[in-house]
């Protein structure tokens, strides 16, 4: 589960990680007030106004129809209010949102941390994640902070370091010191970096996170080490242990059909194609999408109905897929094992009758337990439903549907 920057920072802070402080605002007036409060606390007129959406590239992204970036520095509270009024309610388009962009309903008004002082501020990169090949967590870090880490990895891979955490003992002090040394920290900054890394790993571990990415980690001009940005993804499987994090879920950031599907316990991912599909099992669902592509179509979705493909789930699936006007055909692919194909077939017929006139051809491929009875049931239903038993036949039917010949 992904969360907003301001939520990520609240989690980090709760484990003692130093962060760039800020206040969330949903209106320009609130932003104004937040800027004044920050001035009171930190003594500077300057604040940063940051759009809160679940996508990166905000600083370089722009608000649609306006000359306004998604992250901007304001020299005083009035300016912060003006920037907030540009951003709030606008659609932010970044490299990660795609051309449709994302509606911004919150901004984080944050303290200015790039203030001048005894030394130049310096940015680093740090993330914590699972290394699947080792089945262990790793801390990835680099002196090249504040920029696209994929770019750094491609062009200067020697500047990216990895530290593996032994699950039996967790992060050890010598590892935190090694990281601070490798980042070139000295004196007070060194001490602060050791503290930062230690707290960061504790936060990752205790929060059951699947990924932390802090870019940049900043060494301020007065040798503090703080997280200026924070991308946190919580392990969905562990959310039952963290009701407080689950409450952070922002459904406005998710595709509405995906939210609806999850209410029906359907595993659904919206895609941009023209052939919808409904499948039991995640692997077979992906394979079915591939078949659609190979048959000349494009998958409109990923949909795993799981082990219980009955009339209710099939109907819910139909309704969700049909919300997409681009869908020209639907392929149902069920491999009946424990699930009996004739029951699924009856479910398809019932759902079809319940919905009424489905305007696109339905191709049903049922294989496994009672496949023959299922095919007969579909064929004799009199509905505009095409049945297949072998996967290859289903692929050929999809091809015909895509070509408008069905």
């Amino acid at each position: 589960m992904n969360i907003h920057e301001y939520q990520a920072k609240s989690i980090l802070k709760s484990f003692g990680v130093a962060v760039q402080e800020g206040i969330v605002a949903t209106t320009p007036d609130e932003a104004h007030k937040a800027a004044l409060a920050l001035k009171e606390q930190f003594g500077s007129d300057f604040v940063v106004v940051k759009a809160q959406i679940h996508a990166g590239g905000r600083g370089k992204g722009t608000i649609e129809g306006k000359d306004q970036r998604g992250v901007a520095v304001a020299k005083n509270a009035d300016k912060a209010k003006e920037i907030a009024s540009n951003i709030l309610g606008g659609t932010l388009v970044t490299i990660q949102t795609g051309p449709k962009g994302k509606l911004v309903s919150k901004v984080l008004v944050a303290q200015d941390v790039y203030y001048p002082g005894a030394s130049e501020p310096k940015e680093y990169y740090m993330s914590v994640m699972l290394d699947r090949s080792q089945s262990k967590n790793i801390i990835v870090y680099s002196t090249e902070g504040g920029m696209d880490i994929e770019h750094v990895a491609e062009h200067t891979p020697h500047l990216i370091h990895k530290e593996t955490i032994d699950p039996r003992v967790g992060l050890q002090p010598f590892q935190a010191r090694k990281i601070a040394f490798n980042l070139g920290c000295e004196g007070e900054a060194f001490k602060q970096m050791v503290k930062f890394v230690t707290a960061l790993y504790t936060a990752y571990d205790r929060s059951d996170s699947a990924m932390f990415e802090i870019n940049p980690v900043l060494k301020t001009s007065d040798q503090k080490i703080i997280a200026v940005d924070g991308k946190v993804s919580i392990d969905d499987n562990a959310l039952y242990r963290h009701a407080d994090y689950e409450a952070m879920r922002d459904v406005a950031e998710e595709d509405p059909t995906e939210v609806e599907a999850s209410k029906h316990n359907l595993n659904f991912v919206k895609l941009d194609g023209n052939v919808g599909c409904m499948v039991n099992g995640a692997g077979l669902a992906m394979a079915t999408m591939d078949i659609i592509k190979l048959s000349g179509g494009d998958p409109a979705n990923f949909l795993d109905v799981g082990g219980s493909a009955n009339a209710t789930t099939v109907e819910a699936g139909f309704r969700i897929i049909l919300q997409d006007p681009n869908v020209k055909a639907i392929l149902i692919n069920i491999f009946g094992g424990i699930v009996r194909c004739d029951r699924v077939a009856q479910g398809v017929v019932d759902a079809y009758n319940s919905i009424g006139n489905i305007p696109v051809p339905i191709i049903v491929r049922l294989q496994g337990t009672n496949a023959e009875q299922a095919k007969k049931l579909i064929d004799e239903s009199g509905l505009k439903v095409y049945s297949a038993i072998v996967l290859k036949e289903a692929a050929e039917l999809v091809q015909k549907a895509v070509d408008g010949k069905l």
Partner: protein, 294 residues
Amino acid sequence: MAVLVDKNSKVIVQGFTGSEGTFHAQQMIEYGTNVVGGVTPGKGGQQHLDRPVFNTVKEAVEKAGANTSIIFVPPPFAADAIMEAADAGIKVIVCITEGIPVKDMIAAKEYIKGKDLTLIGPNCPGVITPGQAKVGIMPGFVFKQGKIGIVSKSGTLTYEAADQIVKAGMGISTAIGIGGDPIIGTPTKYAVEMLMNDPETEAIVMIGEIGGSYEADAARWIKETGNKKPVVGFIAGQTAPPGRRMGHAGAIVGGHDDTAAAKMKIMSECGVHVVESPAEIGAKMLEVLSAKAK
């Protein structure tokens, strides 16, 4: 011979009296699997499906001689169940449970390291040696006895592959569903290695999906060890968008190397017979074997 499970396997079910455990234990018994009992803490001493219930795995090992366990315990307790089985000396642990927190699996995987056992899963359909033992949730009738081994991350796609193999006139030696989570006990390479070393297995179907590097690792191992048996391969998720989780917790494209295209390319280069369409698995195997026979 066969790998992992056969008619000599003495199987216990952890989470025996729950609804999933009960249903699938019944199915396994009907299939002919030697289910010697089950474990549900607090219900020890009872009988369930005409078999004894034990409080601990240790007790099941001592009293019923269990050497294989299948786990249907809910996600919050499943990692603990794996470790309990390992501690009790179970040799083959099959964990069906989907949705175990990653943190718990890191600990469980570390716990079993160095112990003389094999963990299959979690989030998997299990293992079947047709005609001998089904330690899993797969529909047994699909798997006819034969000489093709299957290794797969996905459940229904395993059934699909087995069905195609059988329809093409061949059969299955052992099918291993390794699981779709980011952390699993037996990555593709090790499952393929077992089948390569199994005299009953003539050829292998290797089915993967997007995310991680297990298939690429397996392909490189196959090449390094001289491509001893023909391998037909397929990777699901050629059309999956980057960064989105496709059902399985591990099925997410994170970089350039874990896309379906990248994996298929590496597999081809290592001499695996890669099919683009999942509908071609059976036909491809037949073609490869008849070419070999000539």
